[in-house]
Amino acid sequence: MPWPCWGNPEMNHPGTPNLYDTSKKVADGGLTFRARFGVERNGVNLLAENSYSRGSEIKDGYPEFSDKVLKKLGWWDDLTAEEKQAAEGKNWKTDLSGGIQRVAIKHGCAPFGNAKARAVVWTFPDPVPIHREPLYTSRRDLVEKYPTYEDRKSFWRLPTRYGSIQAKDYSQDYPIILTSGRLVEYEGGGDESRSNPWLAELQQHMFVEMNPRDANNTGVRDGDDVWVEGAEGARVKVRVLVTRRVDPGVAFMPFHFGGHLEGKDLRHKYPEGADPYVLGEAANTAMSYGYDSVTQMQESKCSLCRITKA
C-alpha cells in the first residue's frame, strides 16, 4: 500500500496514493501536511489555517495526536478499555494498540496533525536554500558574491574544510568543469549491475564525455584514452566520448565503475568469482573534496579537472 497506510489491518486503510490530498477523507487515502516541527515559532502559527481534509471534524490546523490531545478533545472514551491502557502517555507513533490512529481517523483527522507546508528549515545552515559556489570553481567572479561556508572544526566530530579550499584559485591549472551522473544500464556504484552480463555488455567501458571543442584542443578523438586529473591531483584513465551533450568547458563521467585505480587494473584483488564482468575507473577518484552541509553527502556534481591525452 502507498505510504502512509494507517492503523491495524482491521482498519483496512487503502494507503495514500497522493500525499496531502485534502479532497478525500483520511480514511479513504486523503491527507494533510504533517505537523512535525511544533505548533508555533517566533509567535507565528505553524499549523494549517482554513485547510483540512474532507470530513475532518476539526475545521482547522491541529497538532499530532497523543493521549492528551484525545482527552482535551473529549475523544478519549472512543478508545476501548484495552486501547486506553496501551495509549496512556503515548502518541500516534508509540501507541502500539493503534487506538489513537483509529480514533483520529474516525473523526476525519490525520494522526500526524495538520500543519502548513514550509520552505524555511531553521535547523539548516541555510534556512532557505541559496546558491553557493562549489569549492573548486571556474567562476572566481561568483566566489565573492556566493561564498561557501566557513571551515568547520567539528562537523559530526570531523574537521571539515569549506572556505579554505575555495579561497585558492585552481581554475588556471584545471580549466574544465567536471560533473558526474548515472547511466540507464547501471545502478549506484555498479558492482551488481556490472556483474550482470546482459547489462554489462551494453556499457563495457568507463568514459568521459567531452565537447568536440575541448576534444580538439586536447588533441583527442572519440575512443582515445585520456587522463582526467581532478583538482586534488588524483587522476583516472578513461575513454573519450565526444558529444555535444556537454558544453564546451564541461566534462561528464558516469559514477558506476570501479576496479581500476589511476590506470591500474585491480581485477586480481577481487575474491575469486566475485569480480564483475566490466571494471573501470571510479569517477570519485577524480572528484572533489566537499560535503553537503547537512547530510555530509559527498559532492559528486561539480568540480574541476584537466584532461590530457594518455
Binding site: 552480463p197 555535444r244 551533450r245
Partner: protein, 197 residues
C-alpha cells in the same frame, strides 16, 4: 492469417535498452550476439532519435533469397525463421540483410563465424515446440503460448510494438492523430526538431 511485424516509434523510444535486456533474458542469448539493439542518431544533439532494431521479418526476405542452403522459412504468421541444422554459417544473409539482423557467435562450431543466430519473434524454431532442443538453439517460443515477443511486451514507453501488422498500423495511426491534436502541438515540435523538414 496474421502477419507479424515489429514497429518502433522513434518519438517514444528513450534508448533505455530494456528491449535488448529482455531479449537476452528470455532467449539466453550469449555475450556478443545481439538479436536486438538500439540505434541512436544525432546522439547528444537536438533532434536525437533512437530506434530499436531486430529482424524485421520481411515479407520478401533477402536473407532467404541469398541463402545457398535454403535454411529459411516463413511461418503462417509471417515470421521468418531458419533451421540451424541446415545453416552453414556462410554469412551471405548478413550481407543481404539491410538491418544487420543475422548474428554470428564467435565461439561455436564454426570458429570465427558459427551458425547464424537471429531474432525469432520469440517463436522458437523448427524443433518440437517447447522442447529443450528448441530452447537451446532458438530460445523461447512465446508465440506458441499466445504471447508476443518479450522485447515489445517489456517496452516501458510502448515505443516498440509487436503483433499483427494491421493492429499495429491502427495503433500508430491513432497515436499520430492524437499527437496532432495535442495541446503540446507536436507537429510544430517536429518541425523545430528538424524531423519533417
Amino acid at each position: 492469417m496474421a502477419r507479424m511485424k515489429f514497429y518502433c516509434d522513434a518519438e517514444r523510444c528513450i534508448e533505455c535498452n530494456g528491449c535488448v535486456t529482455a531479449c537476452k533474458n528470455e532467449n539466453e542469448v550469449p555475450w556478443g550476439v545481439n538479436r536486438r539493439r538500439v540505434v541512436t542518431i544525432k546522439d547528444g544533439e537536438p533532434g536525437e532519435r533512437s530506434l530499436s532494431v531486430a529482424c524485421m521479418h520481411c515479407s520478401d526476405a533477402p536473407c532467404a533469397a541469398v541463402c545457398p542452403v535454403d535454411c529459411f522459412y516463413t511461418t503462417n504468421d509471417g515470421i521468418v525463421l531458419h533451421d540451424k541444422d541446415i545453416c552453414i554459417g556462410c554469412g551471405y544473409c548478413f550481407y543481404a540483410c539491410p538491418f544487420g539482423a543475422p548474428q554470428f557467435p564467435s565461439d561455436a562450431a564454426f570458429a570465427s563465424r558459427g551458425k547464424m543466430d537471429k531474432c525469432t519473434f520469440c517463436a522458437g524454431g523448427p524443433q518440437v515446440t517447447h522442447s529443450s532442443e528448441e530452447y537451446t538453439k532458438y530460445g523461447a517460443n512465446r508465440v506458441a503460448e499466445g504471447k508476443l515477443p518479450l522485447c515489445a511486451e517489456m517496452c516501458a514507453t510502448k515505443a516498440l510494438l509487436a503483433g499483427d501488422a494491421d493492429v499495429l498500423a491502427d495503433i500508430y495511426r491513432k497515436r499520430v492523430v492524437n499527437r496532432g491534436a495535442s495541446v503540446m502541438n507536436w507537429g510544430v515540435q517536429y518541425k523545430k526538431a528538424g524531423i519533417d523538414g
